[in-house]
């Protein structure tokens, strides 16, 4: 009889210990804590595109809890309340912000809580805060893609412009060179003529000088000389 009791005890422990382990794991998975040191805070969100059950809740990058439930609210407009089960000892204030963001390249979302600069009342169990920002990794990647495409196009245009400009500059320089040679030739040709013109100017000046002298000496004679 004693042997059977011993066996019963062993079998009982053999059943109970795995059951406890399994329940412990299930409870942890569901976001419960043994010490009951958690509070539930509701996060108001517009859509379920990023937040899901199990999404970690962080403060300064440190995980303080996770989303355990998502409740739809139908009025006034359809929105959702994500129940965040977070550690009780973390001090969060009523005006804290909840940023829904992607935590890595794969795009696993996380909720980053930030306390306000001016501390007000502490958040208590079942309080509601609002998700203020949503950064969609896909959208970012799409934007980056568009930006890179635009940049690539711009670089191509610059390249084209520089190629065209080079051709134009070359033409301009050759034209300038031919213009300079033309001017040189003109100057060389006109050098003799300039001397002749200058001597003609000089003679004209002498003649004019003589006329003026004659005019000073005999003004009337000079004026009526031709009216005879």
């Amino acid at each position: 009889m004693a042997k059977l009791e011993k066996n019963e005890l062993r079998v009982g422990l053999f059943i109970l210990i795995p059951m406890v382990i399994l329940l412990f794991f299930i409870m942890l998975k569901l976001g419960y804590s043994i010490a009951g040191s958690t509070i539930d805070i509701y996060l108001k969100i517009d859509s379920l595109t990023s937040v899901k059950k199990g999404t970690p809740v962080k403060i300064k990058g440190y995980t303080i809890g996770r989303v355990v439930e998502l409740i739809p609210v139908y009025r006034p407009a359809l929105h959702f309340l994500a129940t965040m089960r977070i550690q009780k000892e973390i001090e969060l204030y009523e005006d804290c912000s909840a940023i829904i963001q992607n935590q890595n390249v794969i795009g696993d979302p996380s909720i980053e809580l930030k306390n306000p600069e001016k501390k007000g009342l502490l958040l208590s169990d079942h309080d509601v805060i609002e998700g203020i920002e949503y950064v969609n990794l896909e959208a970012i990647l799409q934007d980056v893609h568009v930006l890179l495409t635009t940049l690539s196009k711009t670089v191509n245009i610059f390249k084209q412009i520089s190629l065209d400009s080079r051709y134009h500059l070359r033409t301009l320089v050759s034209n300038l060179s031919s213009s300079v040679s033309n001017i040189n030739r003109i100057l060389a040709d006109s050098q003799k003529d300039i001397i002749a013109v200058m001597s003609a100017f000089r003679q004209t000046a002498q003649t004019m000088n003589e006329i003026s002298k004659e005019l000073k000496k005999h003004p009337l004679k000079f004026l009526f000389k031709g009216k005879k």
Partner: protein, 264 residues
């Protein structure tokens, strides 16, 4: 007779034999279901001792072996992942790997293999010996439904044992994996547990429970079926071997089907 005819005869014989085997097994299950009609005449105390002793033998006595195998498998998986994962930059997925490989596949399979090789063969040999010693006949003479009296407690004990062994196997494999991971890279306990929990899904829990239930029913059923088969004591080793091999094959097929059902 030509060679082609021989092949045709051989194939036909095998197919008919396979079909007859399935039919006999189905008849065996139906006879057990029918024997539940006399369940009210069965005193719980009479099967209670069998359940306790069978659980002790199938579960508790297999525990050191299961723990040893689980530690080795958990360690091996972690060693492989620690050496291979950094090459692909996915060293943060160790928890996922442990859950996928150990909880979903190796844990249930290894546990089932240990139970089949230890207890399945023992069940077949025990029942076959009882049959040859006319113990079953004497029980029937006393008006005891042998199928209910022998098979039912073993199914209960097997379900309990396999369920507990699976949970212990998984836990020890995680523990072994964690210990080995400490040798190469430091991972805090809470981070390791958190990674495991993130990798777990409700399907994993349901699949573990369902697998333990299905294996717990199938293993003793098949082994008892082969235990009732031998016509003489010289056939006992043949049927013991057959019980082990066929139960293993069926368990592998069922495991693949369940995995496809849950994770595809």
């Amino acid at each position: 007779m030509s060679r082609e005819n021989n092949i045709a005869v051989y194939t036909g014989r095998k197919v008919i034999g396979f079909w007859k085997g399935i039919k006999n097994f189905v008849d065996f299950i139906i006879s057990i279901i029918h024997s539940f009609q006399s369940f009210k005449y069965l005193r719980f105390r009479s099967i209670y001792d069998i359940i306790i002793n069978q659980t002790r033998f199938t579960g508790i006595h297999a525990l050191p072996f299961v723990v040893f195998i689980a530690l080795l498998i958990g360690g091996t998986v972690i060693i492989q992942s620690m050496t291979q994962f950094p090459k692909f930059g996915i060293e943060g997925f160790i928890g996922n790997l442990l859950v996928i490989i150990i909880v979903r596949e190796i844990g249930p399979l290894a546990t089932a293999m240990i139970v089949i090789s230890r207890s399945g063969s023992a069940i077949t040999a025990e029942i076959a010996t009882q049959k040859q010693n006319r113990e079953l006949l004497s029980l029937e003479t006393m008006g005891i439904d042998t199928k209910l009296y022998i098979v039912f407690p073993r199914i209960i004990a097997s379900i309990i044992s396999i369920f507990s062994l699976m949970i212990i196997f998984d836990s020890v494999a995680f523990f072994g994996g964690y210990l080995i991971s400490q040798l190469t890279v430091y991972i805090p306990v809470d981070v390791f547990i958190r990674t495991l929990l993130d990798a777990f899904s409700i399907e994993d829990f349901i699949a573990t429970i369902l697998k333990s239930l299905i294996y717990g029913i199938l293993i003793p059923l098949l082994c008892c079926y082969y235990g009732f088969m031998p016509g003489s004591r010289f056939e006992i080793p043949i049927y013991v071997s057959r019980a082990v091999i066929r139960t293993l094959s069926i368990i592998f097929v069922i495991n693949a089907l369940l995995s496809a059902l849950f994770y595809l």
